[in-house]
Subunit: 301 residues, 2 copies
């Protein structure tokens, strides 16, 4: 059985075809332009590939409420060409297969929970640290939705004492994304992170903000696994600094061997390397297929 | 059908008998001393009342993992007489009925979700602000557990610029409990909150910390309802100040009419007044009864 996946991002659209054990058969990256330009090219990739369903893990904000009239839409994004765009409808209509839909980060955590570092966990989180910061959350084996969807990259933060940077988030200033995203690093230090690899103070401060957020996520979600991905996490040694600081910041309050003894296997990189997002999208497609099967069975019974 | 409930606190043990529609028939408060003193008195209350099951919402930390050898224990609490005490075992053995078990705040949110302000919500949170601060979380209709249980009262906070108080949490200093609990108010201002009711600056600052935490909870859990209870929340006007500041702090980032237009019915007091904890415990007892019925049916099928 073949399933399609789309990891829809503001810069590129990753499209793939995979088998239902999570093996990628084909994968392309298409630059994100306008829907009128980009969607036909994406459809061209999927046509004739015999996919039984499709999953989309999408940049947000998106409408995930199945009861809503705008379910499956990208809503109020600053990427104006995509605002109020019915991305689920467009692919469902053109491909005629069931379409699963969630945020990009909820897709990624589900990919890691099914095939990656959080395999076997009921509760786990995936944090991507790149152009933006997003948090995907799996609770009881399901992606977390509520009033809307979690926006954990924007939690308000305590500034480090010596840090006078005001933060680059236009909404919150000193939120996690405002203090620790790729653009925040570039704005604070005057050049992008990849040109600052040897500057110890850059990564010390970066680890301070990431650890503060992760400590809070641990106290709030009580995850069995914490996965840190995204471009910024490629910096050598950063993950280890975050691990150490999280233990320091929790200060012995949360008692568990994973925190007290095995932090290096508790806060980890994605096992799916650069593919948690696209494999997560494939998993969303699998679920959409299964849901249709369940509904069909219920009707026929 | 009659169900027993225990809201186990560090100061008092609330014990009650209720019907399965959440009507309290009888309710007593027993001062918390040592288990040897207190538990027999509690058992005395329940004996002969014909309860079919019992629920316990307990101060923490507790072991909620059914696979664990110490499931049902209070674990490393500073209340030393209760550390490593098998509270579930004690009542199960003496009363011979199924016992449901969770944290006090998870009990409280389930009480509010079934019979109170969060009725009909799949996702909701209950924050108690008193001697300590605790957060109970209901996700998809279930209390949230994970690696351990959530400890949302201890999330790390940004200090308000003019506030030099170091925080009274012995673990974290400037966490929510350290900055905004009843003891934090007393330590910062030199007298307890009930003697500070007319001091505007006290409640302005209190609202700042509570709102910062609630804004983060909203971004992380995406709850459909936020309930603020506990002794400190009895201060007149405090809830309204928190509502206003949460909207300011979210800064238009989370789009939803509940936040943008109906904040007064989104962040609310408990509908169960002073009884969310004990009614939540009753609900935990109901679930324990139902689970036993389900298991019996499965075996007999």
């Amino acid at each position: 059985m073949r399933i399609g996946g789309i990891e829809a991002g503001g810069t590129k659209m990753v499209c793939a075809v995979a088998t239902d054990d999570g093996t990628l058969l084909e994968r392309v990256e298409i630059p994100t332009r306008t829907p009128a330009d980009t969607v036909p090219e994406m459809l061209g990739f999927f046509k004739g590939k015999g996919i039984e369903s499709l999953g989309i893990g999408c940049f947000g904000p998106v409408d995930l409420n199945p009861e809503s009239e705008t379910y499956g839409y990208i809503t109020s994004t600053p990427k104006l060409a995509w605002a109020d765009y019915n991305i689920v409808g467009a692919f469902q209509e053109a491909l005629g297969v069931p379409v699963g839909f969630d945020t990009d980060v909820n897709g990624a955590i589900m990919g890691e929970a099914v095939w990656g570092a959080a395999k076997g966990c009921r509760n786990a989180i995936y944090i991507t640290v790149g152009t933006g910061i997003g948090v995907g959350v799996c609770i009881n084996g399901e992606p977390l939705h509520g009033l809307v969807h979690p926006e954990g990259g924007h939690i308000l933060m305590a500034r480090q004492e010596s840090d006078s940077f005001e933060g680059c988030c236009p909404y919150h200033g000193c939120c996690l994304e405002g203090m620790a995203s790729g653009p925040a690093i570039e704005k604070r230090w005057g050049k992008p992170g990849r040109l600052l690899q040897d500057k110890k103070e850059v990564w010390e401060l970066e680890a301070f903000y990431l650890a503060q957020a992760v400590a809070n996520y641990i106290m709030l979600y009580s995850p069995e696994k914490v996965i840190l991905g995204g471009g910024v996490m490629h910096q050598e040694g950063l993950l280890e600094q975050v691990q150490k600081k999280v233990v320091d910041m929790l200060a012995g309050y949360v008692h568990h061997p994973m925190i007290e003894k095995h932090i290096e296997s508790y806060i980890v990189h994605p096992a799916l390397k650069d593919n948690p997002g696209i494999l997560g999208a494939v998993y969303l497609g699998m679920r959409a297929y299964q849901n249709v099967q369940l509904e069909t069975n219920e009707v026929s019974e």
